[in-house]
């Protein structure tokens, strides 16, 4: 049991190292990002920024009327060919946020999706940490029950 506990603590400490490294953030910056919207995707499909960045997204449509709504930030803009859209926000919330088309643009409109990733993604690291913790706990539990 003692060894199992030592092992568990060691694994959790080891797991924490990459999380601490990955959680290092850069200084907030001003970022201007251009996104092209075309049935039924955004280019680039993923936008990556750091926590605290002031982000301006310029939306350009190359075919029909499109929109862009960001989950979690609840900001949106829209664009038509020749009539660009724009939105600005401060990326205070970290994690992955879905960018969705907010104007019905054709059959696949509900599936027109892009991602905004605000680093560091504590939510993802924390979830992986929990999953690994559940795994190790379950193994320790069945091993412990095995002993008389």
């Amino acid at each position: 049991m003692k060894n199992s506990m030592k092992f568990l603590i060691m694994v959790l400490v080891l797991l924490a190292i990459p999380i601490v490294i990955l959680a290092q953030t850069e200084e907030p910056k001003e970022k201007v990002i251009t996104i092209n919207a075309q049935q039924f995707s955004y280019t680039p499909g993923t936008v990556e920024v750091n926590r605290g960045d002031r982000v301006t997204i310029r939306l350009i449509s190359t075919d029909v009327h499109h929109g862009l709504y960001i989950d979690g930030y609840e900001v949106s803009t829209d664009a038509r060919p020749g009539q660009d859209g724009s939105l600005t926000f401060v990326a205070n919330n970290t994690g992955k946020f879905v960018m969705r088309c907010s104007v019905t643009c054709g059959p696949f409109h509900p599936y027109m999706i892009g991602y905004l990733k605000v680093k560091p993604d504590y939510r993802l690291f924390g979830s992986i940490w929990l999953a690994v913790g559940i795994f190790i706990s379950s193994i320790l539990l069945v091993i412990r029950r095995q002993k008389p």
Partner: protein, 468 residues
């Protein structure tokens, strides 16, 4: 000592819902399930009309698309299957025409059925056919979920197919083995349900030689699902038609509440057909996510058949991923379990038994996936109920309700919480299956570790895919 699910709920705990007099009265009435089927049929009539008049218009403003692929699908995965087993099969209106034709009536009991009443071949009495049928249906997901006319064609094909095949083959062979694309996973995932239909006292059934539930009587039909109601080990093939409640002269059938996933511990009638159903369902959840909630435009173009080459690439990759890749990766972990646990247990038995750990994982993955549909898209429903045929109606004053995503900011937490719960449940079921499969407990522990690792890796992958 009685096993407990999640260390909390004894596996053999039951509460008989039909012990409540008014519940039993309703269940025994011949109006059940006729009345819900008719009500459901009226909704499906609107769905079919909306699908037909909607043509190829954008699906998000079509009643048919919204009610089938948002309302029905979410209710099915998030409510009906986990809580009420195959209750959908009880109220499904699609095979109703075929069944009414077999019975030459709506509610009257007629045990000599109209039609050829052919037996379904014994070699096909499994899930293989519906596995391929469902996988084949998912090739068209890009059309089904976005073009109203495609949903119309699918539903009409099921209705017409059921009428024809139910005239040829006896009883509910159509639903069970032949023509229902969703019947297979409803059966497998209903093993997770917290409700079941079982005999109250098996000894009464054993002593009763006549078996009215199997052959029928003047009060009810012989079991349309061709199972032995007195010996239902698992929910898989019980369509909850309630005929056995009517036919049983001893009132010995019950609907019970029970802990979740208990059927997965029944070491009887497990098979590779159900194993592949579990792989296919998990794989489709991943592929559907990539198409519907992913950011890869080229994949959407493939599924949308923008080019023939792209569409064929999608079909091939989708098939390989579901039929070969997932089972292949799973096999590696099962092989490790075989090596660490005991080589005396046949590899096939290990593979089959442990594949049932993917049932909780798969259902939970679908629930997590469904949050991604529910929160962003359900506001469309308010629009379509007011103007179901896009004829400019405003029946409830919500026809102009704008698209309004809700709770999308916290949606990832719902998904992560659900997936982690799924991991806990899968690990719990996994170790119980391991103990059933290996002869000694230390072998079961060693053999369980690779499977637990696989389940954890899949969970982390799904968390990363959905939220990371």
């Amino acid at each position: 000592m009685t096993e407990k699910i999640l260390g909390l709920f004894p596996v053999d705990w039951r509460f008989e819902l039909t012990s409540l007099p008014y519940v039993r009265k309703i269940i025994k009435s011949r109006w059940m399930p006729f009345l819900p089927i008719v009500l459901n049929l009226s909704v499906f009539t609107i769905i079919l009309m909306a699908g037909f008049v909607g043509g190829v218009s954008a699906g998000n403003y079509n009643f048919g698309i919204m009610f089938v692929w948002i309302v029905w699908w979410l209710l099915l995965m998030m409510v009906m299957v986990p809580f009420f087993s195959r209750i959908w099969c009880m109220i499904c209106p699609l095979p109703a025409f075929g069944e009414w034709l077999q019975r030459l009536g709506f509610m009257k009991v007629r045990n000599k059925l109209f039609g050829l009443n052919k037996k379904w071949p014994k070699s096909l009495k499994n899930m293989w056919l519906v596995n391929f049928l469902f996988l084949g249906t998912t090739y068209t997901t890009g059309f089904l979920t976005t073009r109203p006319i495609a949903t119309f064609i699918l539903l009409m094909s099921i209705i017409i197919g059921s009428i024809v095949l139910m005239v040829v083959f006896e009883k509910r062979n159509f639903c069970k083995y032949i023509g229902c694309p969703v019947g297979g996973f409803l059966g497998l995932y209903s093993n997770m349900a917290v409700t079941e239909i079982r005999a109250k006292n098996p000894q009464i059934c054993k002593d009763h030689k006549h078996k009215d539930c199997v052959i029928g009587n003047e009060k009810g039909h012989a079991c349309p699902w061709m199972i032995m109601p007195f010996d239902i080990g698992r929910n898989t093939y019980c369509g909850m038609c309630l005929e056995c409640f009517k036919t049983c002269p001893y009132d010995n059938m019950a609907i019970n509440l029970r802990p979740p996933a208990t059927d997965l511990l029944v070491d009887k009638n497990r098979g590779l057909d159900e194993a592949w159903k579990a792989f296919i369902m998990l794989g489709i959840a991943i592929f559907f996510f990539l198409i519907m909630q992913g950011n890869m435009g080229f994949l959407k173009d493939w599924a949308n058949a923008k080019t023939t080459e792209g569409y064929l690439t999608f079909v091939v990759l989708h098939s390989i991923f579901n039929l070969l890749l997932i089972p292949g990766v799973f096999f590696v972990f099962v092989y490790a379990s075989h090596t660490f646990g005991s080589k005396e247990i046949p590899l096939k038995k290990l593979f089959t038994n442990f594949s049932y750990t993917l049932v909780p994982m798969g259902l939970i993955a679908w629930i997590a996936f469904s949050f991604g549909i529910l929160f962003p898209n359900s506001s469309y429903v308010l629009h379509v109920i007011s103007d179901p045929f896009a004829w400019g109606w405003d029946l409830f004053g919500t026809a102009h309700f704008p698209w309004t995503p809700f709770l999308t900011g916290v949606m990832p937490y719902f998904q992560i919480g659900t997936l982690l719960f799924g991991l806990v449940l899968s690990l719990d079921i996994g170790f119980k299956i391991s103990k059933q499969t290996f002869q000694k407990r230390d072998e079961a522990v060693r053999g369980f570790i690779p499977i637990a690792a696989f389940l954890t890796v899949v969970t982390i992958f799904l968390i990363w895919l959905f939220t990371g």
